[in-house]
Symmetry: C2
Subunit: 445 residues, 2 copies
């Protein structure tokens, strides 16, 4: 097929149906993460991919993250200067961090120009991302992508800085880590794009971490509910917030690799809606196993308050105090009362342990009674996830039996309609994931 | 004197005449160059200086350049990607380069917060710098510093990104290398500031390059005319364009060191206007020698077209063609006609030689006649500068005699009312500067 950038001699001809500038052409938002654009070689590879998509007849809008470890580097510089505080001014931190994406979008445009693709960079503000003024972690209020729409109409590829916007008081805001995925999803919604492709350094969503489980399978498709449970329980990509936004606004995602360029994992509302032929799915994709994935998470710690008087309001008092301190409590287990006393265990991110202990010693323990046992840092959470378990009893029993057969002790349990999580010792997590992956029939043939 | 940032307990008292927020307080624009803010240690030193100025009762607005060699690093990244062109897209280059100043202003604000000074960063656009759309080298059209005025009124130090603005079509623009000085001068004018201090890595303007002439003297004061001639003939700082803007708008400058913090060189319209006592000048400053400074420049090359028919319009044809190609011709010398033929010599920046030779061979030589001699790359220009020479005949003669006594051959001569320049062999330039510095009585006692 002819392309705008390669068939200059054919430009005088009438527009063709597969030309990027015709309304019939698909509009695809493509987001590239930090590792995908970490070097000039990677920028070139991405630019060539975009040129190829255009030659195929698609229109493309790009969202780009800061290159490689740039955001870490900028944060490190701020730490070197702000030695007296662990929370430097948010407005200035956002001004600082968003510089990373600016560099990336400008260099990406230069890379696109190199392969003959017309491209314009846009900051979050220029692209119309209006956010609240909650610096470091701003939320998108509205997207007014006038300049983006205009660029696309002119046959130009807009290259938008990920994870940034402008507040009502005209200050630069940063959407937080992983915010570029959210930018891409919100842009796809605002542009009414045909799809939103999140390019990353893995080739899709796997049934378990392939580093732990060599026979883990890449899933051709997954539901939003399943992916949300997976990202909540240790699957690192994509960022959970972007999946939520995509879910809420019904933006179909395609999570795929910027290194191998193979087809990745489609994320949809309902797998039954997929057309196996059109969506290029393997035939087995529609025969869903009950369990789709096994995830694990080693980033939490477990606290236990022993011998708490078992009376109404105690839990509420404890967890309200933690919530007000911004502690992100995950799992909670309360033991059966014994002689009017009970034990309450809960998990928090390891980074929140110090704050949690502070809140407890600052009056909460005195108020509710009980004593704090030493915090357990070396815990692991393993989860099995699958929409199919809703109509399949016995999944929990099978999970517990499988762990018991390996001699792995279960310390805490929590469940949702499509997930069961167990807290175990951290150094048994790898074995647990492998065993469960096999037991639930997920190993690749 | 009490300060806003250190006497918190006195805040309930009525405003004092020396408080930064009172209208009586002086308003000073302070610009810090790349080496002044190259590291976190340097940022801290600059922040402490600003805190000190505020304790003295001054109000401060800061302009900051990109850190150290950051702009070079960004240009290098662009070169790695844009391999097929030496002129990558200007809009994208400006988006890229301006990221450097954004980082610097954010980190500078964090450094100011560390020493208790309230500070807000502003991009060129946020600070109201409206420019033309001439990317890479945009010109300021207007400064509307509403947000800056507001910050100052609130007792906040505004920290403005140097060398950037926004074009009428809302794109980010870069004012070019050395543009931060221009930003500072334009801001000082727009704010009607009491002075504009350009902090750099030298302690002021010297009577010659101190690396060549150990007995070169720092000048306590200099006129705009003299400084313009000096920057035009090799004195590297401040950027000539900023001196022109300051001259045109009558913004007094103070060129000084961000390393020693000593008083530097005042730049004014007329030295006679200075009050030696108030301006802290050495007593001898008012007894101006005829010559104030000796400058040198090794960055140019000399081209000669021999045997050109000596008829009207030849020079015009030649130099119009070069001007249209953007070649920056500096000195021009045309020999006395001999048998209807003449030689035309001129100097251009070494970086423009290839383009110049191209223009000449692309028809200009054929049109005007004559032949191009091999380009001389190894030339040096030495200049003596001083407003006093206007009323002192014999300066030129003394300069030529001094060079002749050293056996240094003069290849070209050009003069202005307050400057005489001679082109000589490059490897004699150092000797020429030293000899002239002594001959004109400039050596420090």
């Amino acid at each position: 097929m002819p392309s705008n950038e390669q068939s200059g001699s054919g430009n005088q001809a009438a527009p063709q149906s597969d030309s990027p500038s015709t309304p019939q052409a698909k509009l695809i938002v493509q987001k590239f993460g930090g590792t995908s654009v970490a070097t000039s070689e990677r920028m070139r590879a991405v630019a060539e991919h975009v040129a190829l998509c255009r030659r195929r007849g698609d229109r493309v809008a790009m969202v780009v993250s800061a290159m490689g470890k740039e955001t870490d580097d900028l944060l490190h510089m701020a730490d070197q200067i702000s030695v007296s505080t662990s929370r430097p001014d948010g407005r200035e931190m956002d001004m600082l961090i968003t510089a990373g994406e600016r560099k990336a979008i400008a260099l990406m445009c230069l890379a696109l120009h190199e392969v003959g693709v017309p491209a314009h960079s846009f900051t979050g503000s220029q692209a119309g991302f209006l956010t609240d003024a909650n610096h470091r972690d701003a939320k998108i209020l509205e997207v007014k992508p006038f300049r983006i729409t205009e660029a696309i109409a002119e046959g130009v590829v807009p290259v938008i800085a990920g994870s940034q916007g402008v507040s009502p008081d005209k200050n630069v805001t940063f959407l937080g880590r992983g915010g570029s995925d959210t930018t891409a999803v919100a842009l796809a919604k605002a542009l009414n794009a045909d799809s939103c492709e999140l390019y990353t350094d893995v080739s899709g969503v796997f049934s378990a971490d392939p580093r732990l489980v060599p026979r883990a399978k890449k899933m051709a498709a997954i539901t939003f509910d399943e992916l949300l449970e997976m990202t909540a329980t240790g699957c690192p990509k994509p960022a959970m917030r972007s999946v939520e936004v995509a879910h809420n606004h019904r933006v179909p995602l395609h999570i795929r690799s910027a290194f191998t360029w193979e087809s990745g994992t489609l994320v949809v509302e309902d797998l039954a809606d997929l057309n196996p032929e059109q969506d290029n799915l393997p035939e087995t994709a529609m025969e869903q196993p009950i369990i789709r994935a096994v995830t694990h998470d080693l980033s939490e710690a477990k606290l236990t308050i022993a011998a708490v008087p078992d009376k109404p309001g105690v839990s509420a008092q404890l967890f309200r105090a933690l919530a007000e301190a911004g502690v992100n409590v995950d799992m909670i287990v309360q033991n059966v009362s014994d002689a009017g006393l009970t034990d309450i265990s809960f998990t928090v991110p390891s980074s929140d342990v110090a704050r949690t202990e502070q809140v407890l010693s600052d009056g909460v323990l005195d108020a509710i009674g009980g004593r704090l046992l030493p915090t357990e840092q070396a815990i692991g959470r393993v989860s099995v996830i699958g929409a199919g378990m809703k109509s399949n009893p016995g999944v929990a029993a099978k999970m517990f039996e499988t762990l018991a057969a390996e001699g792995i002790n279960i310390e805490m349990i929590s469940t949702s309609a499509i997930r069961i999580s167990c807290v175990i010792e951290a150094d048994r997590a790898e074995q647990a994931v492998q065993t469960l992956h096999t037991a639930f029939g997920l190993d690749a043939a």
